[in-house]
Structures are given as structure tokens and as C-alpha cells.
Amino acid sequence: MQLRDYVIRRLLVLPFLIIGVSMIVFALTRVGGSPIGIYLSHEMTPAQVAEIEARFHLDKSLPVQYFYWARGVLQGDFGWSGVSVAPVAEVFPKKLAATLELSVASGIVAVVMGLWLGTYAGARRNRPADHITRVVAVTGASMPNFWLAILLLIIFWAQLGWMPIGRSTPEIIALVPTRTGLYTIDALLAGNLVAFGDALWHLILPAITLGYGATAIIARMMRSALVEELQLDYVDAARAKGLPERLVLKKHARRNALIPTVTVIGLTFGFLLQGTVSVEIIFRWPGIGKWMADSVLRGDQATLMTYVLFTSIVFLVLNLIVDVIYANLDRRVELGK
């Protein structure tokens, strides 16, 4: 089956999966209580409450409520965010940009560092370099990121005062016009290097915190896959052709070792998104993770549902991307069979 056909087929199935996910999400959220709970007060009469319920179609059955919600979503109306006191659709892009900046930065840290460390260790199996990377990786994989976040904050923010907290210095970023919502990119587009430095400086600690765990997992996977590949016959055959060790590693063994690693990388990106919740809370990063946590605590259902809907779409798309990369790396994979 052609790769293109496969992608088209998967894209056609995608909307149905999203509808299914949204139904589950809607039902589960409604079980948690009335969506207007946070707007009600004790002084209201039952008649007033009934009137509000009728306005938001809460007097109808659950499927009908879902229909009204889904219609709103399709029209770009995600409801009212009680936490932000603004329409969800208006706040969401800004929050998403903040989270995107953080997760992409940590994703880059994780993939670059993970693949490099894994290759470095795998090619030097059982030598000191391998043992050191193993320690680094096991630490990363076993340390919860909220703990690492607090540790880094205590050292670099509270004690040494080297690193800032939050997303940016408000006075500096105020001078930069918003184009993409990603502060580093906006600053670069505006040619404002001071703002870029500031944005990057704020980004480093949370990105390392968030990326460390994923770095560790990717590095371990890459290392073991590479060690396995290096024992196969084709590696010796490549050497027997007269290839320098550098090419044997880069062109032959690493390419094959990437196949299992790519799956792990795809999964890790999902976890990065999950990890943003605690990291954003601790670093006071104004992204969707922190927003979601606030809305759970306040019972803000419109915000919560938007978050869950968005995350599930991200997971579905990530899976598709991983499958495509996979097929590109390993020509034996026949997609759709």
C-alpha cells in the first residue's frame, strides 16, 4: 500500500475517533457535577437556577446536551472559561502558545540529547562513557519532574539567583509585537535580541526539567537498540567493504537503531504534554497545563473539556506521524496490513 493512500485513509478515520473521544470526555466531565456550579450562589431561587439551566440546555437529556456542546465547538464556541473570565476560544491560543514553546523546547532537548547520548553510549559499550550515561539516564528516568523542578528552583532561583521564574520579564516582552505567541520566535522576528535572551533565559530551566525524563528514556532505548544492531552481520559486512567506523555507525547501525527509538520518541512527546501540568505550576508558566489544573480545582468544565479534547487530538496525530516516520525508516513495514 502506498504511503500516501495510508495517510489519507488514516486522516479520514481521524474525525470519527475524535467524535468518539469527545463523547467519552463529555460524559465523564458531566458526571463530575453541573457545569454551572461555580456560577451559582446561595441567594438564587430555584426558579432562577432553572432559568440558567434552561439557557445552557442543562434541562435536556445528556445526548442532547452533547449535541449542543458539539455544535458550539464546531462553530468555534468552546464555552465560557470561569477561571480566566473570558471565552475559552479567546484564551486558549495564548495558553497553547506558551505550552507549545515549552514542550517544543523540551522536546528538542530530549531528542537531540537522547539520541546523542544513546549513540555515544552504545558505540562505547561497557566503557566508562557508557557507565556515566547510564547513571545520567537512570537518574532522569526515575526522578519525578515535580521534584526535579523544585530542586532546580531551590538551587538556581532561590539560592544562586541565576535563573528567573515565570515566562518572561513583562516590561521586556511588552515591547515585542505578538505574531506567533511564542516569545522566543516573536523576539527574533522583531529583531529584539534582549527580549530573545530574556525569553530563552526563562525557558531553560523548565525545558530541562520537562525534557530530562524523556532524554533518559530516549537515550536508554537508543543505546540498547544500537548495541543490538552493532552485533548483527551487516555491520561487519559494512566494515568488510572498507567503510570507516564513523560511517558504519552513522549510515548503517544508527539508522536501524532509530526504528524502535522513534516509537519511544512519539510516546514521549505525549508524556511531555502531560508533564507540562506540574512543571507549569511550579515554574509559574502560563500554559494550558496550569490552566487545566486551575479549572479542575474550580470545576470549570468548558476549559477542562477543551483541554482534554485538544490533548486527545494531539495523541492521535502523533501516533499517525510516528507510523509514517516508522515506514520511512524501515521499508519492510507495510502500512495498513
Binding site: Y234, A240, K241, P244, R332
Partner: protein, 440 residues
Amino acid sequence: MLDMTNRPSGLANSPATIASVRDLTVHFPSKRGMVHAVDRVSFEIRDGETLGLVGETGCGKSVTGRSFLQLLPIPPGILAQGTVTFHPHARCGACAGTGCDACNSTGRRPAACPSCTGAGCAQCNGSGAETVELLRLPEDRIRRIRGDRIAMIFQDPGKALNPTLTIGDQLSEVFLQHRTEELLDAAGIGPEDRGLAARLLGRLASQRNGSIDNLLLSLPPLRGKRNLLLDALRNNVAAALAETQIANPYQIIDRYPHELSGGMRQRVMIAQALACNPDLLIADEPTTALDVTVQARILELIKDLQKRRQTSVLYISHDLSLVRRICDRVAVMYAGRVVEIGRTDRIFRNPSHPYTRGLLHAVPTAATKRGQLMAIKGTVPELVDPPPSCRFVGRCPHEKALCRSKNPELAQISDEHSVSCFIHDAAGAADAPSFDEKTQ
């Protein structure tokens, strides 16, 4: 057999051997002690001959074969002692490698010793031929020999080809590593060119190109030359594939190994090994992983190519009947040692080591009646810190006390036939074992 008296070369005293192994000893440390995988193995490969290296699994034949290319797992393995000397050939000057009368249409001639340019000196033992010691050659020099002067075919072509690269990609690498100048020449770049185009194409033609190189080379001013180079590369690859009787080489180039049959894959491996017209081919059980019918055709192919190009072959196998069909001489290995070596007809007509005899008796023929097939009793000894005895002790039907206390050296028993067994040791007299006397 090759006529050794009329060898075409301008050297003082051109050697009749292409490579010789002396006292090769490889150890592997294990939890229980040192495993003597290869123990003082010595033999030589004559120029243009096919030497069979037979023995059962674990007797050290593959380790011996791999040592020619420094492909031994060292560490953990330890090269305890020994040398592997090799006389590389160079391209024939008269015909530029296409084959002429001067080089016996092989396209190759023995390379001259760099210190005396062929006159004969102490460094080349008076032969005038270039002599290299393969085991101790530095990485960058052994790399230039691998795949160019000495090539190797592996046992399972399904495993020895990279599953994620096309056949063309994999075969190209041989040319990119060893035929860089020719490829540049095809693109119109001479050796004295120093411009940007020459530098970028030079990096492409020696696999040192990065993604920026590729981008620059894909843009108009350089694109044409790059395409010339890539076309030359593709033609070289197709020609190498056609050599192995692959009918549609240009269609195979873009295929992946899993899309080909086992026999086709082995043809690709052979094409890859012979792409640079090597002097010596190490064939490590090249037909073991194939069907019997395919096996026969691959064997014919190797035999045919060997005859046409006069390539010396070290044919490693456990299959006696196969070795008998293809080899000029045979070396029998047992438990890390060469126990018998000689011309194929002598070994098979007159096997003179008890192990070789046992092996030949264990091969069923059409005449063998039910229950008549002989087996060698016992199992192969463990090679962990072995005693200084003959390795066949405990399984040999003729063994004496002498065999248990001392190791017999390889000694010539007749013209072109050497055996390591006290049976042929005239000096042993009373204590010596004999084929006539069964002691066990």
C-alpha cells in the same frame, strides 16, 4: 592448477603465495578460563587457488577467515601471536584493469614493494612484491584493503545486507570507498582540480558529504556534474550486478534486500565482494543458508568468477562434498588447529589424520548400507585452557600415551600433503600410534 612458472610481473622474484598465515593464535577469555579458539594455525594461500578450510562448528575456521580483515572481536578476544602476511596486487598498468595478455586477463598484477620498487630488498624478502602484515595494520590502511584487495562473503545474505538501505546504496559504498578517483573522472574532475566543485564532488565521491553538500550539489551549477558522477556510480553498480548473472541489474538497484530471494541476495553479496576485482576472497560458508538447488548455482557462479579473474579464494565450509568440488587444496581444522592440509585429491583419496578419516567415513554415499555409517565417538573438547596434548585425544581410535602428553606438529608426509599426527612420525617407533592398531 595455475601455471606458476609463467607469472606475468615485473618483479624480481614474484611470490607464488597471495597470503600466508603463521602461528595464528586467538584466545577468548571466559568465566572458566581462556578459550583457545585458534591455536597456532599456519597455512598459505597460493595465488589464484581456492583453498578450502573445513571443520565443524566452533573449530575456529571463521575466526581464522575473519582475521584477514581484522574483523575479529578484539576485545574481548586476544590476539596471542601470529602473523598474516599478504601480497596485495595493483591494477595492471598495461590495460588499466580491463584485462590483457600482460596480466593474464585478470586486470591485476602483484604490487611492487614500496622500498625497492620491485628489485628485491630485505623488507620484501627479496621478492620485490609489496608485503603487508594484516593483523597489525593500522585502521586506515586495513580499511583500504577491505573490500578492495580482500573481500568477504558472509554466510547468511539475509543478515549481511542492511535491511534499510537499497541494494544500490549498499553496492555504491564499495565504489565510493575505493574508486573515488574514477568517479570524479567520470564527472570531469581531474586529480589537480581544487575548486569548490571539485571539493564538493570529492566529498560526495568518498562518502564524506553532509546535508549542506547535498543541498549545494542539487543546485544548478553543480547539479550536472553531480548527475554525471551518480550515473557513473549507477553504471558501475549495475555492471557489478550483471557480473553475477543478475538479468535485470538496473531494476535490482532500487530494491530493498527483503524484496529479493535468498539466492538473489547472495548474488548481490558476491557482486559487492567482487566489485573491485579483489586479490583474495574470503567466502565464509556462502551457501549454508541457501536451498540445495540455489546452493549449486551459487557455487557454480563462484567457481566461474574465480576461474575468469584468477581470484584466490579461502572457502570456509563444513561441507566436505562441496569443498571437494570447488577447492584446489584443503585444510582440515579441528578444535582450533589445522590437522591436515594438502591437495584436494590427496586428502580425499588418502586421508591421513584419524579425524579426517572419521569425517570422510561419516559422509553417506549412495553405496552406504543402512547401519554402516560411521560416527566419531565423543564430542568436541572444550577449548578452555587445553592440555598440551593432541586435541583429538579421547575421540581417536588409535591414541597412545604419547598422544596424551605431547602435541604433534604439522609435518609433510608426501608432496603437497601435511598432517599433524604421530602415526606418520617415523622417530616415534614403539610408542607411536598406528592406523593398523586400534587402542580403543
